[in-house]
Symmetry: C2
Subunit: 307 residues, 2 copies
């Protein structure tokens, strides 16, 4: 079953791999190399598709210095064109505030909806100047290209703080969103809270839940851990200690990602909730990327019974 | 190995059963019956000992109405005298603020330290009028009866809120405390946070950790759940939903208690931390008490490898 069908039928089991496009300054040849290397790494895996992020400078979101400096990256839509050898679907992120409305609608209209899905992301803070708000972008999508499967972000940490993330999911679902992708999960309880509240809220409305894709990322160093914090990822205190004191932070985080996957698979199965996973590496170090690929392989195995 | 030796040697593996003395208005005959019924229930189990609570009116701690009305109970020290048929150790709680200093020292001096251990509990709120503060009571103990094993309470929820509970544990340990007993644990992450921070803090001081006894209680109804909240027990959102929507709250909470035990056993083993368990029933309903006894039996089995 392909990703589009799986999501349209609101089934769980999807496993995706998330990646950032190369830096904007990369030569055409360099971009081509990245694309080929990525496909060579991922083709042996039983993935349902790729996610390509749209990176914005989110320094407005967090006054603390970004542990890894912000680098302008290639437009994900442009990078996807370089991935033509990749035959599976691609979920293209769009930070909608960056684009003119016409740019968005033109792009939407030009996509092969069997190959491309999209996730629209709103502004990183309320004060940010945007060209298109998230609700407006969703409206443009409904008007121009509703057959393209559209997703949105879900943030378990926001649920922990405010307790209303499940209502945001319902509102986005009302706007036509067909799936959710979370930010990186290190607090499995926050993720379970969100699954649970969303489950009961959807049920109370007599509706069906759409799949939530939980993002996992290994963490190979204390610098990466700091970056996860900067991104707003909550790492439980005991796990923070484990990672700080581990002789092999990468191996410890890898094990934790698998534990998280197992716990979320078991929990969502009990509630009959459709979930999937997205494996990414928030760091660009080779060891971390290779561990991510291996993690994706193991998560595919763990989801095999749903596929 | 008996409880006293286990705790003195700072080893994990203890399993205790916690109970509240009968109401203060119970007749002498009634008290005798409670004592006999309790011993008959618990003797077949492989417990290390009993905990007998000292109940105070904690309405100052929480302005919300107490879901189960407060009932004056028998002095735990008096009730323990009725348990003379119970041959294993008893941990007698003392809400020290209730007693005159002379009352405490007389009681301490009169105990058989092979049979009786104690846990001193401070005031339930800062504004409460007390006759003896916790540090003063610990000083009286050091002066009059240091050979009696003294414990103190540990509150993972306070650690979640303030992040300094491990420092309180170290300060209590400096005062001579030989073990800790937690309040009821439903948030396993908070318990893991406390174990972890305590582990690394003790290690940094070049000292040895003392056992932490984690308290588990089943929850047989939404009323009991409300009472757990009133007592300050944090129940994660997803678990709250599970319990509220379960067709069998008691069975669901029972399963959760075992999951908590398993997770804490595995986690503390990895860090080499000595832990034990205390099984109580915060409610007095027969089904809940019987489930607690069964839970204690299963927890004994799970701890058998440490005993």
């Amino acid at each position: 079953m392909d990703l589009r069908q799986r999501i349209s039928e609101r089934r769980g089991g999807a496993v995706l791999f998330g990646m950032t496009p190369p830096r904007a300054t990369t030569s055409a040849e360099g971009v081509q190399q990245v694309a080929e290397r990525t496909m060579a790494r991922l083709e042996p895996l039983d993935l349902d598709g790729l996610i390509v992020y749209d990176i914005t400078d989110e320094s407005d979101r967090n006054p603390v210095e970004r542990p890894f400096p912000f680098m302008e990256t290639l437009d994900p839509a442009a990078f996807v064109d370089e991935l033509e050898g990749w035959k599976k679907p691609v979920v293209v992120y769009r930070c909608v505030g960056k684009y003119e409305p016409e740019h968005l609608t033109t792009w939407l209209g030009a996509q092969d909806t069997n190959r491309v899905l999209s996730v629209f992301v709103g502004a990183s803070s309320r004060d940010k100047q945007v060209q298109v708000t998230l609700p407006k972008a969703q409206e443009l999508w409904r008007e121009t290209s509703p057959e393209l499967l559209l997703g949105a972000v879900a943030i378990p940490e926001r649920h922990l703080a405010k307790g209303d993330e499940h209502e945001r999911l319902l509102a986005k679902q009302d706007a036509g969103v067909g799936f959710f992708v979370t930010q990186v999960v290190y607090d499995v309880n926050a993720a379970k809270d969100l699954i649970s509240d969303y489950h009961y809220a959807v049920k109370a409305r007599g509706e069906e839940p759409v799949p939530i894709i939980f993002t996992l990322s290994v963490c190979g160093s204390l610098k990466t851990l700091e970056f996860l914090h900067w991104l707003g990822v909550k790492v439980p205190r005991w796990l923070q200690n484990d990672l700080e004191h581990s002789e092999d932070t990468l191996a410890r985080s890898y094990e934790q990602c698998l534990d998280t996957a197992d716990e979320l698979i078991a929990f969502s199965a009990r509630l009959g909730m459709p979930i999937g996973f997205n494996i990414e590496s928030v760091a660009v170090r080779k060891a971390e990327i290779e561990a991510s690929v291996e993690l994706a392989r193991e998560v595919c195995e763990r989801m095999a019974h749903l596929r």
